[in-house]
């Protein structure tokens, strides 16, 4: 799966959507009556596998809408919710097309169920993948209700209108609430998708685009059970799983008998595990009546570990410096870079570095497993890709996939970490041994030391400036991490990534450092790191060319060489929007500076302009203005929240560094890996460009341009060019 994730990433980045694309797959509706008398509407697909699915497709229609006898409407949200807002946004799309009042809608979280097709969150794919199904489900149900009313009244269906859950026929003055039409609607032939009115443009929306608070808010403000760690089962035990501090290490010997005798402990045993860092690793399971008892017992654990590797940040750095002297392997070469550099008016050179970083979800990894007497395994877990989790558990435990049922709990922060399911396979294994329901709750230390981190990288750049002041050449040596000749998960860089295609002479060369620590997709994998490098370097080039930053970038986006790496006009549109909102060109005042960056990833275009105030080397990010083109906004609240949060996340992560020694993570908790706090957060102003393109996701795209917009503003305010993360390496204090 890891490799496929990477490839999908590259593909989604290069594919540019077209306005109001039609339904490309053959969709069909399925209608039935539930035992409760509710009208149930689902959507299925035939003819084609689900595009972009992490795996498998489905032929069986899935359930989306239930119109209940009491007049309420239940809308099922199929995807996991990690704070990206899909549990609210998806049902809004159905409600929009069903013409019901939002306040009458109840939202239900689906478990993992193959009938739903893709049920994974990652790659900001939720909105674009769900858009058609959700519209068809809502519009299909409305079509039937409309025909049912028209039939009863003996009037043309075209004369009937729907509003707030009621069908009206104005001419005859008749009206019927949906719940009085259910039986008649269920008898009608199911329409073809082509007969349905699917809304595509913001001008048609009533509910979409509005500020709609999240459907779980009431539970959140009252602390009601909602998250994976909130699951409680009769007779449930608590577990921790102790792995070797160095990744991949095995257990030679452990005093599990002593640990098992500690107060409140029911089990302590060695798990042999395997050597797949994303699966069940060797370790010691400690299980007890309370989590605290397990924590205390763990203090008595003594293990003789067999270490299998000794990676260290120090060795990585040395190797990176050595590789930087070499040529690397050419991934793409347009024109003739060396020649163009020779004939350039000016050549600018710079090297950039960013470190490994942790996902640091605030909810450490947690999951609950229960083996029913039938032999079926039931789980409750925060997972970004439950189908992948099921496959891993099935393979590891030798359990048929049909015997594994996974309930999706609200995720206490995803960011890509929960695309890996080590914690789930651990608790499934433990539950089978102890034959009671078990909840595994990792400690923060376990979480930070056994993550799938964003890989570090070194970028060595050279740019030539021609007599016209444009970049005539761009040479890029990317030093990244690999294993067995392939970039490790989260470490690859697509040769299609701009500035390829924006510069006539372009070369990308790659060198790889052998990597034995686990890595993985980390929120907008790659993009959130490269964008900082490119957009910072553009700043340097524009400065050397004595051009205004905005004018330089707009000019860069005015022309492509070969296939454009991104939609030039839409990208430029967001940059102009952000610049206009920020008042680009104004004097920000003493000790202040403005900086900008644009980017495109995962289908959406985002530019930011940041304003920074500096006192000496101490800086404060005062405000960020954002221009966003993600097509029509589904939920203004969710969309804005993603932009605001991504900017804070970007700032926060730019101050952090995870390092390794003797094959193990050196940091362990927030005392040495401290996230940003509220006093560091800027004000954020969002400006959405409501285009007619299909709606795209926003979980990731606002992230990438935030660090360079801020570091470019820091340069403008202080004259300090930050070329290394964390920023303190450049002497900057936040």
């Amino acid at each position: 799966m890891k490799d496929r994730t990477q490839k999908n990433r590259g593909r989604s980045s290069s594919a540019t959507p077209t306005p109001s694309a039609g339904i490309s797959r053959r969709a069909f509706l399925k209608v039935s009556m539930a035992a409760s008398g509710a009208l149930v509407v689902g959507v299925g697909w035939s003819g084609l596998a689900l595009a972009e699915g992490l795996e498998g497709s489905t032929w069986e229609p899935n359930l989306y809408v239930r119109i209940n006898r009491d007049g309420t409407v239940t809308i099922v949200s199929k995807n996991p919710e990690a704070g990206q807002g899909v549990k609210t946004a998806f049902p809004m799309v159905v409600a929009e097309h069903l013409e019901v009042d939002w306040k009458t809608v109840q939202v239900e979280q689906a478990p993992l169920d193959d009938r739903y097709g893709r049920q994974a969150i990652g790659g900001s794919r939720g909105t674009p993948d769900g858009w058609d199904d959700l519209r068809i489900a809502g519009a299909g149900a409305l079509f039937l209700l409309n025909r049912a009313a028209a039939g009863q009244w003996g009037v043309p269906a075209a004369e009937c209108t729907a509003k707030s859950g009621v069908i009206h026929h104005e001419a005859s003055g008749q009206s019927a609430p949906y719940n009085t039409l259910l039986d008649a609607a269920a008898e009608l032939p199911v329409p073809e998708v082509g007969q349905l009115k699917l809304k595509t443009r913001p001008a048609e929306f009533k509910l979409l685009g509005k500020f709609v608070p999240g459907v779980d808010n009431a539970k959140i403000i009252h602390g009601k059970p909602l998250f994976g760690c909130d699951v409680r089962k009769e007779g449930m035990l608590y577990a921790q799983f102790v792995k070797c501090p160095s990744f991949g290490g095995r257990v030679r010997k452990a005093n599990v008998d002593t640990v098992a005798k500690q107060p409140g402990i029911t089990h302590a045993f060695v798990v042999e595990g395997g050597d797949d860092l994303t699966g069940l690793m060797p370790g010691i399971a400690i299980v007890g009546e309370t989590w605290w008892a397990v924590t205390k017992a763990r203090e008595t654990l003594k293990v003789d570990w067999e270490h299998t590797q000794s990676d260290s940040s120090e060795a990585y750095e040395k190797e990176a410096a050595k590789l930087a002297q070499g040529d690397g392997e050419t991934q793409r070469h347009d024109g003739d870079v060396e020649k163009a550099l020779e004939s350039a008016e000016k050549v600018i050179e710079a090297s950039y570095y960013y470190p490994f970083v942790s996902h640091a979800n605030l909810e450490p990894q947690v999951a609950t497993a229960l083996f029913h007497e039938s032999g079926k395994l039931e789980m409750w877990a925060p997972s970004q890709n439950p189908r992948g989790a099921r496959r891993l558990i099935s393979d590891t435990l030798g359990l048929p996939q049909d015997n594994i049922h996974i309930n999706l709990e609200r995720i206490g922060g995803g960011f890509g970490r929960r695309l890996r399911h080590d914690y789930m396979v651990e608790v499934a294994w433990i539950a089978r041994v102890v034959k009671r329901p078990v909840q595994i709750q990792w400690t923060r230390e376990d979480d930070m030391q056994h993550g799938f981190n964003r890989p570090a990288a070194w970028h060595h750049l050279r740019a030539g400036i021609g007599s016209d002041g444009r970049m005539s050449a761009f040479d890029h040596h990317f030093v990244t991490f690999g294993k067995d000749g392939e970039a490790v998960s989260g470490a690859g860089l697509s040769p299609k990534q701009y500035p390829a295609g924006l510069v006539p002479n372009f070369r990308l060369r790659q060198s790889m450092i052998e990597c034995n620590v686990p890595t993985g997709p980390w929120r907008s994998p790659g993009h959130s790191a490269w964008c900082w490098v490119y957009q910072s370097f553009f700043d340097e080039v524009a400065l050397a060319a004595e051009r205004d930053q905005l004018e330089f970038r707009l000019d860069l986006l005015s022309k492509s060489y070969g296939e454009p790496p991104l939609d030039l006009a839409r990208t430029a549109g967001t940059l102009k929007k952000a610049a206009q909102a920020a008042g680009w060109g104004r004097d920000p005042g003493p000790g202040r500076g403005l900086g900008m960056a644009f980017h495109y990833d995962h289908g959406s275009f985002v530019s930011h302009v940041a304003q920074v105030a500096a006192q000496g080397n101490r800086i404060k990010v005062e405000k960020v203005w954002s221009g966003i083109d993600a097509g029509p906004v589904i939920n203004l609240s969710g969309a804005t929240n993603q932009v605001e949060g991504a900017i804070v996340d970007a700032f926060s992560t730019s101050q952090l560094e995870l390092t390794f020694k003797d094959g193990a993570t050196e940091q362990s908790n927030f005392h040495d890996y401290m996230l940003a706090t509220i006093d560091q957060a800027p004000e954020v102003e969002c400006h959405f460009i409501q285009s007619d393109f299909p709606p795209m996701g926003l979980g990731e795209p606002p992230m990438a341009p935030a660090p360079p917009a801020i570091t470019n503003a820091i340069f403008a305010a202080t004259g300090v060019r930050i070329r290394e993360q964390p920023w303190r390496k450049a002497g900057i204090v936040v």
């Binding site: 500020f211 808010n217 009431a218 760690c229 605030l362 609200r410 923060r444 957060a681």
Partner: protein
């Protein structure tokens, strides 16, 4: 193990805990009150915030035995009817993303407004800096605290 009597959300509870058991785990594992969250275990993230005699307190490092006889308020017991200005503002501003930290944020915000009914941006930043939000909802937390202060002031006038 020792019996500890805890007054939580106005109700007396007796729990059997070891002397070093943090209040957090007495709440979560023994009393099944799971609204208070574990984030770091060293008092740095604020997810486990409860009010002890009205003061925001990190329950992950506070032994249950140390708060015997004191008034403990958890997020479950904090205006269960939802009428507190902070809760209303949190819903209206739609503060939460993942929501994991928000119980702690709400209690810290309520404690701030209790002491300072009209906090400035700086006051809010200072009072709320002990509660980490990994999703970065800080701009909204600021807005929600200000809105809650307004609602509280309006309520006092009427």
């Amino acid at each position: 193990m020792s019996q500890v009597s805890l007054k939580i959300n106005g109700q007396e509870h007796t729990v059997d805990v070891s002397p070093d058991t943090p209040l957090l785990w007495a709440l979560r594992d023994q009393l099944n009150m799971v609204g208070t969250k574990y984030g770091c275990g060293i008092g740095l993230c604020g997810s486990c915030t409860v009010l002890v005699d009205g003061e925001p307190t990190r329950s992950c490092t506070m032994p249950a035995t140390a708060v015997e006889g004191m008034e403990i308020t958890t997020i479950e017991g904090f205006h269960p009817e939802g009428g507190h200005p902070v809760q209303i503002a949190w819903q209206e501003e739609d503060v939460a993303q993942c929501g994991y930290c928000q119980g702690g944020q709400i209690l810290s915000a309520a404690a701030l407004l209790e002491k300072n009914p009209d906090p400035s941006k700086e006051d809010i930043d200072q009072a709320m800096a002990g509660n980490i939000c990994r999703c970065g909802t800080y701009p909204r937390i600021r807005k929600a605290v200000q809105l809650a202060a307004k609602y509280a002031a309006d309520g006092d006038e009427s």
